[in-house]
């Protein structure tokens, strides 16, 4: 191969003239991404609410909001990975319930907290493995398989818990609670160093950030993630080029359940009790968060950042409506409208988001 054949800037311009296709620059790819527009919307919403509602912009409310959406963010990261393969996981809410009950049972039986957490994780990931096996190796529809798991895991949680709330945890109960209610940084008032205006961020939030950073790095640097996207784009092509399609799909479902298990364990610790109804209906909120963040249900698109920002937007809207004193029955209508609006904003028309396309049309009209 000739080593001196380099693509110069001039040549790029030349190619753009020929094929009428602008090179994707960093700025263009940001401006065309749905997650970017959702971030803008979130930012605007936060600014407007902070100005109009004094109780919204407080550090306490920030800590509250971040703690509330973090479990959804964690699950949405896993969901995004499954959605990228072109699948869907409806069972995350039920898996949460089962994990909480399994963890709670082991705590009730006075096992140490790490054994309980580990067994919870194992139970959750087994559910994911069953999902993954039937989707990847048997070739069933993800919707059907995970719908089945939604019913099975919830039912198991009810049976195993004998429909009781578990709260009489053994000697490790204080440790579990300390983990679930861990906050950082602590304010002076709670024995820390941070000044009054810094929110005391929860362990749920930090776990979400850590997981988001790890998954984000995996998306950027690993061939695993590239194969994941290839499967979502064209599964047959991925298979023909030697991508281990079945294995990667299987791993995606296991990881999604792993995320749900982590979220469940953190909530178990925070609540200090385990109920089998934990996570009921969460799957739709998680899917909504992933979709708002730019995950494409057809497959092949999605980011970890989008998953987090999508769940943040949902929670901020919910919180803002409460703060503004709007009847909580209106929440569904707002959230539904936001889902449609976000996807509309991120929709591509001729390589631009609809928003960007409309903006350009306005500019040329002048």
């Amino acid at each position: 191969m000739p080593p001196d054949t380099e693509y110069s800037a001039a040549e790029h311009a030349h190619i753009a003239d020929v094929v009428h296709l602008k090179e994707m620059t960093w700025l263009r790819s940001v401006l065309t991404s749905q997650a970017f527009w959702v971030t803008v919307a979130l930012f605007v919403l936060v600014v407007v609410m902070s100005l109009t509602e004094p109780s919204f912009g407080t550090a306490d409310n920030a800590a509250n909001i971040t703690r509330n959406f973090a479990p959804f963010g964690i699950m949405a990261i896993g969901m995004t990975i499954v959605i990228i393969t072109g699948g869907i996981d409806l069972s995350v809410g039920s898996v949460m319930g089962l994990v909480a009950i399994v963890g709670g049972l082991f705590l009730t039986w006075e096992y140490p907290w790490y054994v309980a957490f580990f067994m919870g994780l194992v139970a959750g990931m087994l559910c994911g493995a069953v999902n993954g096996f039937f989707v990847a190796y048997v070739g069933m529809q993800p919707f059907v398989v995970t719908l089945g798991m939604l019913a099975i895991a919830r039912s198991l949680a009810v049976v195993v818990s004998q429909n009781q709330m578990l709260y009489k945890f053994g000697p490790d109960a204080p440790t579990v609670k300390a983990i679930g209610q861990f906050r950082w940084p602590l304010r002076v008032a709670s024995g820390g160093w941070a000044p009054e205006w810094i929110p005391e961020l929860s362990v749920q939030f930090w776990t979400m950030i850590g997981l988001g950073l790890i998954v984000g790095a995996v998306f950027i640097f690993s061939s695993w993630a590239r194969h994941l996207f290839a499967i979502g784009g064209n599964e047959n092509a991925a298979r023909l080029t030697g991508v281990p399609v079945n294995r990667i799909k299987f791993q995606a479902y296991v990881f999604c359940s792993f995320c749900a298990s982590i979220a469940s364990i953190l909530l178990l610790g925070y609540n200090g009790s385990a109920i089998n109804a934990l996570g009921t209906g969460y799957e739709l909120r998680v899917i909504a968060a992933a979709v708002i963040g730019g995950a494409d249900l057809i497959g092949g698109a999605g980011t970890a950042y989008g998953a987090i920002i999508g769940s943040a937007l949902l929670e901020v809207i919910r919180n803002a409506l409460l703060m503004a004193g709007i009847d909580s029955n209106w929440q569904g209508a707002f959230v539904g409208a936001i889902i449609v609006l976000a996807v509309l904003l991120g929709m591509q028309s001729g390589g631009k988001s609809i928003f960007a396309a409309a903006w350009e049309r306005l500019k040329t009209r002048k």
Partner: protein, 311 residues
């Protein structure tokens, strides 16, 4: 795997799986599987059958030479349907073969047999003296057989360079991880597009590309490895006249580098422009295998339609 391909044929490596039925009582270590061999392929000496049946002949340099690909009495049935029936064919290095036939003649099935999409029901495929039983396309690729599929097998949501390297990404070490070497892949893809004289940029999304650019991406993929045989399924069916000329030029360039090309096409002028030999299939069987200069488009048309029975 690469080592196994590059190694010259010594005629000493036994590893024929039992089911091939060629184990010889003369071979002391017959049946002992050479661990360096590919699982899909095995080298064998057919003792008792005689050297004549080995695909050995002198090449131009006067050295022992093996046919790149030899297909022996291959048949493929799908249930009651016999898609390919008793086909034998040899391909030498640097040879361009036009594979022609009407729809349903069995061309695609034959290509998929060679490409490893499924194993043959009967007969065997021998690549450089090694009997191969491909079950997956990756196994065929490991033996130096690359395919440009008719639908190109591209992931639309990925960029050109990502598609070129799909399934065999370049990596670099950033301790303790092995991460994608994106710049190297982009540079190499750029070089390949340059070689193909295609106006394709490595960073562009395949979704937004024209038919010719997509074709270039699919062809660039075959140029990554040292392919010995490239199967092209209708590469000129959906692209502009100028791009057809480019693809044909590319085929000539591959030939010049000793790469064999099997061109499956309906377009008579394209096949006559580049091929050395034309193989015609009809109803699953081979009806003609002629040197291109010894035949005419009229004769080939007759063979395809069945107006001429065989030649």
């Amino acid at each position: 795997m690469q080592a196994a391909i590059a190694r010259p044929f010594l005629g000493r490596e036994f590893g024929a799986p039992e089911q091939t039925g060629y184990r010889s009582r003369l071979c002391l270590n017959a049946g002992k599987v050479d661990s360096t061999e590919s699982k899909a392929c095995s080298t064998r000496r057919e003792s008792g059958v005689g050297w004549g049946s080995l695909p050995l002949r002198f090449n131009v340099q006067g050295r022992w030479n093996l046919s790149l690909l030899e297909i022996r009495n291959v048949a493929k049935s799908f249930g009651a349907i016999r898609a390919v029936n008793d086909i034998s064919l040899t391909v030498e290095a640097g040879e361009v073969i036009g594979l022609m036939g009407d729809n349903g003649a069995g061309k695609s099935t034959l290509v998929k047999l060679i490409a490893g999409n499924f194993p043959a029901t009967e007969g065997e495929i021998v690549v450089e003296g090694k009997v191969c039983h491909f079950h997956k396309p990756v196994q065929a690729r490991a033996m130096g057989i690359e395919v440009v599929y008719q639908d190109l097998a591209l992931a639309d949501n990925l960029r050109a360079s990502e598609n070129v390297f799909l399934g065999r990404e370049l990596k670099k070490s950033i301790w303790p991880f092995r991460v994608l070497h994106k710049q190297a892949m982009i540079d190499r893809a750029g070089e390949l597009f340059e070689e193909l004289k295609s106006e394709t940029r490595p960073r562009d999304l395949v979704k937004k590309m024209s038919g010719g650019q997509r074709q270039a991406v699919a062809i660039a993929r075959t140029r990554l490895a040292r392919a010995k045989l490239v199967l092209m399924d209708e590469p000129t069916a959906a692209i502009s006249v100028r791009q057809v000329a480019q693809v044909l030029e590319l085929i000539r360039r591959m030939k010049a580098r000793g790469v064999a090309v099997m061109l499956i096409s309906h377009r008579m002028p394209d096949v006559f422009a580049v091929s050395d030999r034309i193989v015609v299939m009809r109803r699953g069987g081979k009806v003609a295998d002629k040197r291109t200069e010894e035949t005419t488009p009229e004769e080939i048309t007759g063979l395809i339609t069945g107006a001429i029975r065989a030649a």
